[in-house]
Amino acid sequence: MKFLKIIAWLALVALIVIQFFPIILNESDYVPQSDFMVENQVPATIKNRLQVSCYDCHSNNTDYPWYSKIQPATWFLEDHIQEGKDELNFNEWATYSDRRKNSKLRSIISQIEEDKMPLDSYTLIHKDAILSDEDKRMIIDYMKALKDSLE
C-alpha cells in the first residue's frame, strides 16, 4: 500500500514537473506568399474544408485545442505535426517544383480517396474535420483539375 502511494506521488510530481518544460508550438500568425491558397484560386468552400481538416498538421499554424497545451499531449502532437509537415506543408506549396506538386497532388487524392486522411485519431476528437462524401468529391475534383493543369 505504501509502495503504491509512493508511485502515485511520483507520477503526480512527474506530471507537474513536465508542465514546466519548454514547449514549441506550431503557431504562426501570418500566411506566407508561398501558401497553397495564395498561389491557387481555391473556391471558398474547399478553402474552408482544407483549413479545418488539413491545416492543423500540414501548415505552420495549428489551431490547438485547450488540452493540447497540457503535457504530455503537447509532445505527442508535436511529433505528429512535424511528420505531417515533412510530408506536405501547404504553406510552402509554391516552393515545390512542378514535379513535386504533381506527386503531392497525387498523394492528396489517393489519401482522401482511400480514407487514410484525415487520420482517424485526429477526427476522433475533431469531429468537424471529418470529410463528408460530398466534401471528398469536391476536394478530389479540385485537386485533379489542378494536377491536370500542371501536366
Binding site: 509512493i6 511520483l10 512527474a14 513535386r100 506527386s103
Partner: protein, 198 residues
C-alpha cells in the same frame, strides 16, 4: 514534519529522474554525430578512396541498377526486399552528382532527384499496394532522368494498361520479356514494350 520532508525528497527524486532522462536524449544525439564522422574519415581515407569515388558521384547507371533491383522485388511480390531496395535506391539518388550538366539540366535533375528520393523513401516503409503506387511515379522520374543523362544500357520502356483501374502504369526494364512489377504473380505477363532506349 517527517511527512513533508519525505514528500519533498520524492519530488526532488522525480525531478532529477525526469531531468536526467531528458538530458540523456540530448547527449545521445550530440557526441554520436561527430564520432561517426571521425570513424568514417579514418577508415575510408586511403584504401577505400577509389570505391568511395564510384559511390559518390552515383552515375545514372548506379541509379538504374538499384531501380531494376527494386522492380524485380516488386515483380516477385517481395514486400520486405522492396523496402530494403527502396532505401538503397533513396541513398543512391541522394548522392547523384549533377555537376557535369548544364544549368537548366541541373535544375531539372535536382527536381527529379528530390521527387524520386521521396518516392523511394515511401517505398522503404510501405505495404505492397502503396509501394507500387509510388513505383509508378518513381518510374516516370527515372525515365525523365535517363532522357537527360542518357545511358549505355539497352532499356525497354514497358506499359501495362490495366494497372490502377485501367489508368495504366509504365516501367523500365533491361529485358524485353514482360515481367509486370505492378501485378506481380497475379498478372505477370500483362504489358507490352512501348519504346526502346538505345
Amino acid at each position: 514534519m517527517k511527512k513533508v520532508k519525505r514528500t519533498l525528497g520524492m519530488m526532488a527524486l522525480a525531478a532529477t529522474t525526469v531531468l536526467t532522462v531528458s538530458c540523456k536524449d540530448v547527449n545521445k544525439n550530440e557526441p554520436a554525430a561527430p564520432m561517426s564522422n571521425e570513424m568514417h574519415q579514418e577508415s575510408m581515407d586511403d584504401k577505400d578512396d577509389m570505391a568511395m569515388n564510384d559511390n559518390q558521384d552515383a552515375k545514372a547507371e548506379a541509379i538504374l541498377n538499384d531501380y531494376f533491383n527494386l522492380k524485380d522485388a516488386l515483380v516477385g511480390d517481395d514486400n520486405d526486399k522492396a523496402k530494403q531496395l527502396g532505401a538503397t535506391l533513396a541513398s543512391t539518388l541522394g548522392s547523384f552528382d549533377a555537376s557535369s550538366y548544364s544549368d537548366s539540366e541541373q535544375q531539372e535533375l535536382k527536381d527529379i532527384m528530390e521527387d524520386a528520393i521521396e518516392h523511394a523513401e515511401h517505398i522503404s516503409e510501405s505495404d505492397m499496394a502503396h509501394q507500387r503506387e509510388h513505383f509508378k511515379i518513381l518510374s516516370k522520374d527515372v525515365t525523365d532522368m535517363v532522357a537527360i543523362t542518357g545511358t549505355e544500357m539497352k532499356i525497354y520502356e514497358q506499359f501495362c494498361p490495366m494497372y490502377n483501374n485501367n489508368e495504366g502504369g509504365a516501367w523500365l526494364s533491361m529485358n524485353e520479356e514482360i515481367r509486370n512489377p505492378y501485378f506481380g504473380d497475379k498478372m505477370l505477363k500483362c504489358g507490352k514494350v512501348q519504346r526502346e532506349i538505345n
